[in-house]
Symmetry: C2
Subunit: 244 residues, 2 copies
């Protein structure tokens, strides 16, 4: 169940102001966007969009985590994207999406009606330039993920995932990686992300714990004791940048 909120955060005070599709827009352009925007919220587990649904709006994740998932005929599923705050939903020039979008947490979207947004995309270069960047970033992330899915072992997949989590939860502008981390997903969802089964994910986490690389303070809360060992386990080059 989702509903449209009446509260309208002013764009200038929006938490994703500097990273979302609108980040390059000036005052006038923001005002124009403000006129066509709506907030929508979704409860944990809700499907935000089903594959093939008519796309009424496009928008940005303001709060929460959502996943993009694909399904085979017999029910096997693969997560093909993770949407975090400032990530963009929707595809100008196409009215459907080819995957299911599901809320993991409580998710808040900042939505723009599709037709007026596409019109603005044609007239406002600041918008289209930023959208190109966003799409290219996602493409880089998807390709990095293809390497993981196609060639990495279960251990390497798990280590890469944790390293990615760490760099995502890193405080903006800080060079230090965080030591205390939260797993935003269940074992089953992680498995879905990594192209593994939940049992394999559990075994790999236990192994990293046994080796003293990680320490768990709860099932979804842990500490990275040895970042060097973690990186060694990823299979990436020593200079390899963070993923997604």
């Amino acid at each position: 169940m989702n509903f449209i909120l009446n509260t309208r955060i002013k764009c200038s005070e929006c938490p994703i102001r500097h990273r979302a599709v609108c980040s390059r827009c000036d005052e006038d352009e923001l005002a124009e966007l403000e006129a066509i925007k709506n907030y929508r919220t979704f409860a944990p587990g809700d499907t935000i969009l089903w594959r093939g649904d008519e796309l009424q709006y496009v928008g940005s994740v303001v709060k929460g985590v959502a996943t993009l998932g694909k399904t085979l005929e017999d029910g096997r599923t693969q997560m093909v994207g993770l949407l975090l705050p400032s990530d963009f939903i929707g595809r100008p020039g196409r009215s459907q999406v080819d995957f299911d979008i599901t809320a993991v947490n409580e998710v808040t979207l900042c939505c723009f009606d599709r037709a007026p947004f596409e019109k603005m995309l044609h007239s406002v270069p600041h918008l289209s330039q930023r959208l190109i960047e966003i799409a290219m970033d996602e493409l880089d992330a998807a390709r990095e993920w293809m390497l993981l899915l196609g060639r990495k072992t279960a251990r390497e997949k798990m280590a890469t995932f944790i390293e990615m989590l760490a760099s995502r939860q890193q405080i903006e502008g800080l060079s230090e990686l965080p030591t205390d981390l939260a797993l935003p997903l269940t074992r089953d969802e992680i498995a879905n992300f990594l192209g593994l089964t939940l049992e394999t994910v559990s075994r790999q986490l236990s192994q990293l714990k046994k080796e003293g690389v990680l320490e768990f303070s709860g099932r979804r809360q842990f500490t990275v004791l040895d970042y060097a060992a973690l990186h060694d386990a990823t299979g990436d080059d020593s200079d390899g940048g963070p993923i997604i």
Copy 2:
């Protein structure tokens, strides 16, 4: 060894005129592009760009096939993209690529110097609009490929690959799928594409041959005898669209 050609096909007579990044441009805009373009050719096996290379130009594939490849520390590789005529190389706003680009065939590129192209991207909406579409199409293809790499069996991967080949070699505008097909890649390259080993690729092809789904007239030339059986082997929905 690559070299710059002096021959300049006029944009209006270019074979990829209607699909490349310039496809929306009008006469004036084409003239502007024409002024900053160059053709480059590469021999089979040549590396067009190494990971981390400074990107002097962006451009489109005019002729031939190239691959995007990523490598792990110990040498395992995964192909993360296939570039066919009209596909775009390069990333506005970034001066490096994060993968190796290799020519499979003899490849001809239509290259634009990076700085003036990026300037045009800001001033010519027809260019940025088309680039958004291209990036989004590639993103869809990458996500379809993630499903394949993460969840499909060797047999399903092989069948999906052949089905993709067929739809790619389909004559424009014709509804019939071609029966005679050419494999543009070696077994090793296919394995690299599908996240398998070359032996597994060979075994799967032999199996499909034994079942009467395919018939080989040479090692790289074959006929699809049974498209329905081929599709059943892909694991996709019956209505599932073609990939890439």
